[in-house]
Amino acid sequence: MSLFRLKEKIIQGVFTVLAFSSLLFLVGIIFVLFKEGLPIFKDVKISDFLFGRFWYPTYEPPEFGVLPLIVGSFYVSLGAMFVCVPLGIGSALYINEMASYKQKAILKPLIEILASVPSIIYGFFAMAILAPFLQKTFNIPIGLCTLNASIILGVMATPTVCSLAEDALSYVPRSFREASFAVGATRWQTLIKVVIPAAGSGISTAVILGMSRAIGETMTVLMAAGGAAIIPTSIFDPVRPMTAAIAAEMGEAPVGGDHYHALFAIALALFLITFFFNILAEIISRRFRIKLGLSG
């Protein structure tokens, strides 16, 4: 083989490795999560783990019921949806349908900057400003609670929802709107009856990915949610979402111990949940592109 051919081969090889490295990382992560997470089930039954109501990993004997953590994660994230769905979709509709070119040029980057604010700053804000405010306003014993975390998480997920929903709206071909206007429909009718249905699955993808973003968020919920591993009964209860539990406890869990393995098992569950959301979003958005006659 000539030197030239060899060089070509090597270059091709390098790029192949680079391209497949993300797959390698994914497989690596899944492997480690399973390897380190599964051993907990030697000592604790899966059903006790998933549906156990008590998370006392450092007690003697310890209890590893993660139900309060799972419920905490979903509770906080669902709360966040009430904030980010109206805010995100509302601003997407405004930007896409009503804003002038100038407003659009300012608003879009502005909302994207919101996404680049480090989560610790959101956490600070939640702890130092929002929590005392909630405590005073609702006269509750402590401001660090589900509501507090949900509001901040919702604001954090808003850019995700907004920019994906805005993309979905802008994929709706102009010809659909023109067709609607041409038969005498008003702007509002066109929006409700043509544009939103056409962008519907794209918008649901935005919501699902916003949810996925909220569930996976760690630093903010660690700081803002209160951290009590209980099953919440009201929005003023503190909770300990899965991510917060892992972040707070990993440092103190002895490597190779039950607690350590249990935290990995939580991470595994979290991974599967967000993986599921992302796959779902992908399937819906593919159907969306086919429906609009864009390439699948």
């Binding site: 070119y101 071909p173 023109e178 067709a179 206007f181 041409a182 038969v183 009856k193």
Partner: protein, 254 residues
Amino acid sequence: MDNLPIKMRAHGVDFFYGQHHALKNINLDIAKNHVTAIIGPSGCGKSTFIRLLNRMNEMVPNTTLTGKIYLDCLDILSPCIDPAEVRRRVGMVFQKPNPFPKNIFENISYGLEVNGIKNKQLIEDRVVESLKKSAIWDEVKDRLHDSALRLSGGQQQRLCIARCLAIQPEVLLFDEPCASLDPISTRKIEELILELKKDYTIAIVTHNMQQAARISDYTGFFLLGDLIEFDKTEKIFKAPHDSRTEDYITGRFG
């Protein structure tokens, strides 16, 4: 114009995209129950012109329009006129077939619903009637609830014509309706236009000069925003007044 009744009249129309002077002092009458063709090379302003007739260009930002456009005696550019009302009376078929991602029936009934018609029987009658009028009924009568996007390009375009007819407009505007169609579909659309002129006033923008010659009664030739010549189609094609018109129709440019 032989004292024919005039359905639409453009009077001293100037139109700007930003600084670009796209239409210059256009005066053009569209005769009732006749076909008026607008021809000219790309970028001459012919599509821009036809889109003024149903106030479709208002969606384009940063544009200026002066002059008057009348539909019968109605000044359609007057600020107290609702553009939706104009568009109900002046329907439009676009260059690319643009059915909604809905089923065939809903594509037609949409226009009726947004205009406040709720009577189901009436909607159904109108859907059938407009599909028949646009010569597509036989092809779709057994699959009214299939997605309109599964139809062929030519069928989609006739569906779009049916969608226009359903709200009973008085004028039909066609913006290069055959630009994306094959010759057979094109012929069907042309036959349909000739049929429709009995009941409607029609204006059509076309790139295809044979098409203008075949189906229109009057032809206007646009060049760089000017209406160079407007006359009977026969006259334009056989004995044009202006040498630029002659150059264009004999294929010397454009």
